[in-house]
């Protein structure tokens, strides 16, 4: 019989290429993973055989991810650049997937037409669309596609025992494992084991007359008959899985993943967190959900029994944390490491052959006949229309999801950043990006500069990162306490990591950068703000690395592409014959096991109908719930939540529409009032949790207690508001709040101030800065410093003065020692000091010794978020001495000093006061530094207060500060011998400038308080200007 080309497959390939091939250019770069693979590819393009990469995480090995896809992109990048490589590999993966589905379906159904249908459906299958266009998991797609290509070969080897098939199947397994490590391991369990079961079933079937005659005995007999082939295949494939990426396994053994698990949406309870349910359950399943009864019915028929079991298991595992079953099956560790969405992906792929079969039977087979005879042709057409419509809807919905809910910030033009890093040796320091999303990988691929961050969390090495459940520092605001906490450690001690530049695409982080001592350098033309920290040494020219043996490097660099070459050579023959029909070929053995498509079971049809009805009801219910929850004016709670949501996302018009229209408030007035409020709470806070309690409610009025929790980069803010709502025309509205009516005294006023500019290099040269252009480091003097213990943590407190004639940026580093001079801990002053000092200005300071927070056990991570909270370092020994290193550098920025203390009332437990902005800049975040003194007016402790509201020019702002509780501060050491300024002894350097200092000069100006432990306090002010003009 002359074989004809399968039209469906050809159509599927053409459609697939046209549809995916054109749309990847708009989707792939905004996916989660694609740019990470691009970064890896860049690594191979530059150093093919050297697995160590310095650019991320202070160095990591690329042997932590199978290299095939990355190396292929790297190879292709030699022709047309990295992105050319990426898209080419993506297009190849699309082809591999469609043909893979075809071959897998042919194997399962033994019918070319149904396999063609399956291939056609696979093109638009929502799980494939999601994996490619939303997640960008290229290695995963290549892995599963090649595995599907391997399945028929494995079948033929087991069935026929021809060694040729053993070779082809193993060659394909090798390609699978070099492209994705998880796929062949789980593929063994979920695809190959059931396949083996099917082969045995087929062999058994051949030895008896009917399928019914296949008993367990017959089955075992056949199993024993095939045992040798099964074992030989199993062992050889095991060797291949281990051998082909042996360096990967060695690396995983040497550097086991000992990090705190990173939360992943696929482990959520889908009923509680519906967004995860949508992305990880509804979308990948799509229309398959309707076909579930048919899928189970077919997969639980005797021949496919093992596929049925595997399919069931995959379905259950894919439900994530909705039920406890997946956790029980996988165990705690595997559950927390694996992303469970892959199980759903595999289940949906396994369903494709049967879906193709269903489509065939529905479109031109027995199901059509059955429906038409039972319900009529019109019904059949309507159902067909609905199914096709739903199918296409799911595809379009999935494709457009990233348009409606962007998972990434807008595309950032990288060229200005790349240019900046190349200029003036800026790449001699490490950098950090904030708010870049996965685009940071693309930046890393384009520059030689290194970052402390990275985007492949399994390769993280710094304990500051591995002990937190955060993927990247870059998006730490989404990771609550752990994220900001981690980030703060990097910002406070940047010299440890040679971190000098921060590219910020998110102004949320600005306050923490300022208060940690960073300064704005300039805004690049792409809108990215560059922050800089002074006093950071450049990265040393020789960096440590974990070297591996040469044979590993050679193996890693050669094997993956060799497997592809080998697989290609072994399979090209078949491909040639299959595609071009050059010669007649005996049809493969699995085509002998055809299913009879003549009588569709009416029961299955009935069950499918009932199931569809249930699904439809569920969808309606969900939509109703969604409506009730989202109808912002249905009840007072909804109105409150909608109002706060609108404020959180700065949708002021939406917020205004929830304000009582009878309140005489116009939108322009409302917008005006909103626009003049600035500060930590209104500009830098992210609503973390909101709780509403209706305290009283009548038909038309309600009062609601609103408890809100806000995350700011500096600290957590809890707020309680009482809101009054009224009902008009069946809708609930909020009553507007009262406004601060403070009127500034002057309409126009002027002030003079000294501003500074540091030229940097005066000559335009690439040489090192000329000797005479290097400014002298400003001289500082530490006026007092002591090591104290308060409650359970140690701190160095004191006062420091800039005694030079130029403004200084001050970095303070404290180190604690025990009695035998063993170093115990070292840390920098964070925000308990003014980092920028005018000539002769003083500041109090406190250095807290933070441990790497929550490094002990993952259990102790607090559920509630508080960026302000810190973990005191745990000392094995008692610190008794300290060393303080102060470094000054000339800086002309952030020298606003016009925040005055205009009123103060002191009670026993509280200080109430008023701040006044006498300057020309709007203060975004005022900070108070409160220093406590004992009765002899010597310093004991330093505390701080961030005032939540900003202060506009010539306005007043009240503050409340709770005086410290009665815990006593123990002074451990106040000997000031080991204090150094710019590397020189504090005493000598200061005596040179001030020979006769007036000691305790302003002591008469300390504020007396009545407190059992403290007699005096001093209040200093510091201010962050968000938008300097």
């Amino acid at each position: 019989m002359k074989e004809t080309t399968n039209k469906y497959l050809i159509v599927a390939l053409l459609l697939g290429l046209a549809f995916h091939g054109s749309s990847i250019f708009f989707t792939l770069e905004t996916t989660y993973d694609a740019l990470i693979h691009l970064f890896f590819a860049d690594h191979y393009a530059n150093s093919w055989f050297e697995p160590w990469n310095y650019k991320w995480y202070t160095g990591f090995t690329v042997m932590s991810y199978p290299p095939l896809v990355h190396q292929s992109i790297a190879l292709l990048s030699m022709i047309g650049g990295l992105k050319f490589g990426l898209f080419t590999v993506a297009i190849i993966s699309i082809l591999l997937f469609i043909t893979g589905v075809y071959r897998f379906s042919l194997l399962i159904t033994g019918n070319r037409t149904t396999a063609g249908y399956a291939a056609l459906l696979a093109v638009f299958s929502s799980s494939f669309v999601e994996t490619l266009h939303l997640f960008g998991q290229l290695p995963s797609i290549v892995g599963i596609s090649v595995l599907m290509h391997a399945l028929p070969e494995i079948y033929l080897w087991l069935k026929t025992g021809k060694y040729w098939y053993l070779a082809t199947s193993l060659s394909l397994i090798a390609v699978t494992v070099t492209s994705h490590h998880v796929t062949p391991i789980f593929g063994m369990i979920f695809f190959i084991f059931p396949l083996i079961g099917m082969v045995i079933m087929d062999v058994s079937r051949e030895s008896v007359d009917t399928i019914k005659a296949v008993t367990i005995r017959v089955f075992i007999q056949s199993f024993l008959k095939l045992l040798k082939r099964i074992i030989s295949f199993g062992l050889l494939s095991l060797i291949i899985i281990i051998g082909c990426i042996l360096p990967y396994w060695i690396n995983s053994k040497n550097n086991p993943i000992t990090q705190v698990p990173i939360p992943h949406g696929s482990r959520d309870n889908f009923l509680e967190i519906t967004s995860s349910g949508l992305v990880f359950f509804i979308i990948p399943w799509g229309i398959l959900l309707i076909l579930l009864p048919y899928l189970f019915y077919r997969y639980y028929s005797k021949r496919y029994l093992f596929f049925g079991l595997s399919f069931t298991l995959l379905t259950i595992l894919g439900t994530g944390g909705t039920t406890a079953i997946p956790k029980t099956i996988l165990g705690e560790t595997a559950f927390n490491i694996l992303t469970l969405d892959r199980f759903t992906l595999w289940a949906s792929i396994m369903a494709l052959p049967i879906m193709g079969e269903f489509a065939y039977r529905f479109v031109q087979g027995d199901l059509k006949t059955l429906i038409q005879s039972k319900f009529g042709a019109v019904y059949h057409r309507i159902i067909g229309g609905i199914l096709a419509g739903l199918f296409i809807f799911m595809t379009i919905f999935t494709m457009s999801l990233s348009y409606f809910r962007p998972s990434q910030p807008d595309t950032i033009k990288m060229l200005p950043i790349v240019n900046f890093l190349n200029q003036d040796n800026h790449d001699q320091w490490r950098f950090l990006t904030l708010g870049f999303g996965d685009q940071m990988a693309w930046l890393s691929a384009q520059t030689n500069a290194m970052t402390v961050d990275g985007n492949y969390h399994s390769a993280r090495r710094l304990p500051e990162l591995t002990t937190r459940p955060i993927e990247r520092l870059e998006n730490s605001k989404f990771k609550g306490v752990a994220g900001i906490g981690s980030l703060q450690q990097f910002l406070t001690r940047p010299e440890k990591y040679n971190l000098k530049y921060i590219f910020s695409n998110d102004k949320f982080y600005d306050p923490i950068l300022y208060f940690c001592g960073w300064q704005r350098l300039r805004q690049l033309e792409n809108g990215i703000m560059v922050w800089e920290r002074l006093n950071i040494p450049p990265v040393s020219s020789i960096l440590p690395k974990d070297d591996v043996a040469k044979w590993q490097k050679i193996l890693w660099g050669t094997i993956p592409l060799l497997t592809v070459l080998l697989a290609f050579l072994l399979n090209i023959h078949m491909l040639w014959i299959n595609a071009l029909k050059t010669k007649f070929k005996a049809s493969p053995a699995f085509l002998n096991f055809k299913h009879d498509y003549s009588k569709f079971s009416p029961t299955v049809l009935k069950v499918t109908h009932i199931w569809s009805l249930v699904l439809a009801l569920l969808v309606c219910l969900a939509m109703y719930q969604f409506y009730i929850k989202n109808d912002s004016q249905h009840n007072p709670e909804n109105a409150i939540i909608a109002y706060y949501d609108a404020l959180d996302f700065k949708e002021f018009e939406t917020a205004f529409n929830l304000i009582n229209p009878n309140s005489n408030m116009t939108i322009s007035q409302y917008m005006l009032e909103v626009s003049v409020t600035d500060g930590l709470l209104s500009s830098y806070a992210k609503l973390d949790a909101i709780e509403t309690m209706v305290t009283t409610q009548t038909n038309n009025m309600a009062t609601v207690k609103v408890i809100t929790k806000w995350i700011t980069p500096l600290e957590k803010i809890n707020k309680v508001d009482y809101k009054i709502l009224s009902k008009l025309n069946g809708k609930w509205y909020l009553e507007p709040d009262q406004l601060n009516t403070d009127l500034p005294p002057d309409q126009l006023y002027s002030a003079n101030s000294t501003s500074y500019h540091n030229q940097g290099r005066r000559r335009i040269t690439t040489e090192q800065t000329h000797h005479e252009d290097v400014l002298k480091q400003p001289v500082l003097e530490v006026l007092s410093a002591k090591l104290v213990k308060y409650e359970n943590h140690y701190a160095i407190v004191g006062e420091i003065q800039n005694i030079d004639n130029v403004p200084a940026d001050v970095v303070l580093k404290g180190t604690l020692y025990n009695d035998v001079n063993k170093e115990l801990a070292s840390y920098n002053a964070k925000y308990h000091m003014k980092h920028k000092l005018m000539p002769k200005e003083t500041t109090a300071f406190k250095i807290n010794f933070e441990g790497i927070a929550w490094s002990r056990t993952k259990d102790s991570i607090p559920d509630t978020f508080n960026p302000d909270e810190f973990t005191p370092v745990e000392f094995e020994e008692q610190p008794t001495k300290f060393n303080l290193q102060a470094a000054g550098n000339v800086s002309g920025s952030d020298l606003f000093k016009n925040l005055t203390l205009s009123n103060i009332e002191i009670s026993e437990k509280e200080i109430n006061g008023q701040l006044f902005n006498s300057g020309l800049q709007e203060i975004t975040i005022p900070q108070l530094l409160i220093t406590y003194y004992d009765e002899h007016k010597t310093i004991l402790w330093v505390d701080h207060l961030f005032v939540k509201e900003g202060i506009r020019q010539q306005r007043k702002q009240d503050f409340e500060y709770a005086i410290l509780n009665e815990s006593k501060v123990n002074v451990i050491n106040d000997i000031m011998d080991n204090i150094y300024v710019n590397g020189l002894p504090n005493d000598q350097i200061s005596r040179k400038i001030i020979s006769k200092r007036i000691d305790n000069h302003a002591n008469s100006e300390l504020q007396p308080v009545s407190h059992p432990n403290y007699s005096f306090i001093k209040i200093e002010t510091n201010s962050y200007i968000g938008n300097p003009n």
């Binding site: 101030s753 005018m838 205009s902 007036i998």
Partner: protein
């Protein structure tokens, strides 16, 4: 017995070789240095010549402070010529050589001197800024070098010149241990000092030293204000006299001055200023209640001002309170200022609600158009009898047993 011939052979071989060695040593002893010059100028070609009668060509080992090398000779008319490579001849210093041949060796050394001309003046000055007053100094280090980067010999004279204000001083120093240095002390005045140096008619480039003023000494302060009323809505500006150091130099711009205000309650208020041309100004909003301020300014640890006293007269003498809507709306006002005009918006008014001497609630608001209003929400304050205290402008009114319903 077959071992014997082998032994014999070995014996013959040893005796032969020792003979050869002795012969060679004889020849080496005839090699003699012919070059007599032991001092050379850097950069000149240097060739060491040795007599050689037998045609052997031993290597010459040659070393200076930068490293060592072996030199192969070339023979010209029976004379061994060793041409010293450039990397040695271009560096000033002592070069040692050794010629080893067999067990006899010749050795010697020669000196290379810098070229007697200056090509560049390597100059360092630091720190680039010093303090006026005559005690602080900066150090200038000059290294005159020839075209091959060799420092000139000891005791080469270097002329240093510096200009400060109207004086131009020139001085001579001599190089010692390759460098010449000089400490330049500041004068009493602050200003800019320009420094250069000269050696063998070659001049260095210009260097700048900033002489900064020293720490300030005592100063005085004054205040300016539109009126003397405590209306909480005008600004008092404090100004210092010109801050100078002990030698009458105006302190550098930006010098930070803290103004500490102590009021009649002994509470300390703070405002800050930084100097321009020695004068620092600081602003403070007027209090909203009658006050007596004692102001003193500090440059902490260095200087302080006189104490300035200011009185602020009470602007609001009294206010009225009206209760309405079940006593839940409390209106305060009219709040009248010193000419009976309505007080400008923004006067802070505080309401405190007590029940049995414990504070139930404390609310603040600001006045608008001369009035302030509180609306007590029933969730916040339950229906009951309370003592209500209203404070504004330093005045206080108490309403006992006010029933809210």
């Amino acid at each position: 017995m077959r071992v014997l011939p082998a032994y014999l052979f070995l014996l013959v071989l040893i005796s032969l070789s020792s003979f050869a060695a002795i012969k060679q040593a004889d020849k080496a002893s005839e090699i003699e240095l012919q070059t007599v010059q032991t001092e050379f100028i850097a950069g000149h070609k240097i060739t060491l010549r040795f007599s050689n009668s037998e045609g052997v060509e031993p290597l010459l080992y040659c070393t200076n402070s930068y490293g060592s090398t072996l030199i192969r000779p070339y023979i010209e008319g029976g004379i061994l010529n060793y041409s010293i490579p450039k990397h040695i001849t271009q560096k000033k210093g002592i070069v040692s050589w050794k010629l080893i041949h067999g067990n006899i060796s010749l050795s010697g050394q020669f000196t290379i001197k810098a070229k007697p001309e200056v090509a560049s003046m390597e100059t360092y000055i630091g720190p680039p800024s010093i303090q006026a007053g005559g005690t602080d100094y900066t150090m200038m280090v000059v290294i005159p070098t020839d075209a091959l980067d060799n420092p000139l010999p000891e005791d080469t004279t270097v002329k240093t010149k510096h200009q400060f204000l109207s004086t131009e001083i020139s001085d001579t120093i001599k190089t010692k241990h390759l460098v010449a240095y000089k400490n330049i002390y500041s004068k009493k005045e602050s200003g800019r000092m320009l420094v250069s140096s000269e050696c063998l008619n070659i001049n260095s480039k210009e260097f700048t030293i900033n002489v900064m003023p020293a720490i300030p000494v005592g100063f005085s302060i004054s205040a300016k204000r539109p009126h003397g009323y405590a209306d909480g809505n005008q600004i008092t500006t404090f100004e210092t006299s010109i801050l100078k150091d002990k030698d009458n130099n105006i302190v550098s711009d930006g010098t930070f001055v803290t103004f500490s205000i102590s009021n009649e309650k002994n509470n300390i208020l703070k405002t800050y200023g930084s100097t321009i041309n020695g004068i620092a100004t600081a602003k403070m909003i007027h209090p909203d209640y009658g006050s007596h301020w004692q102001i003193q300014a500090y440059v902490i640890g260095m200087a302080q001002s006189n104490i300035l006293s200011l009185n602020y007269k009470q602007a609001i003498s009294d206010f009225e309170v009206q209760f309405s809507e079940n006593n839940r709306v409390i209106t305060i006002g009219p709040l009248k200022s010193f000419m009976d005009q309505m007080i400008p918006d923004g006067l802070s008014v505080k309401l405190q609600i007590y029940k049995n001497n414990t504070t139930i609630e404390s609310i603040k608001t600001t006045s608008a158009n001369g009035y302030a209003q509180f609306k007590l929400k029933p969730d916040l304050v339950k229906n009951d009898d309370y003592t209500i205290v209203i404070q504004t402008a330093g005045l206080e009114k108490t309403f006992k047993n006010t029933t809210l319903w």
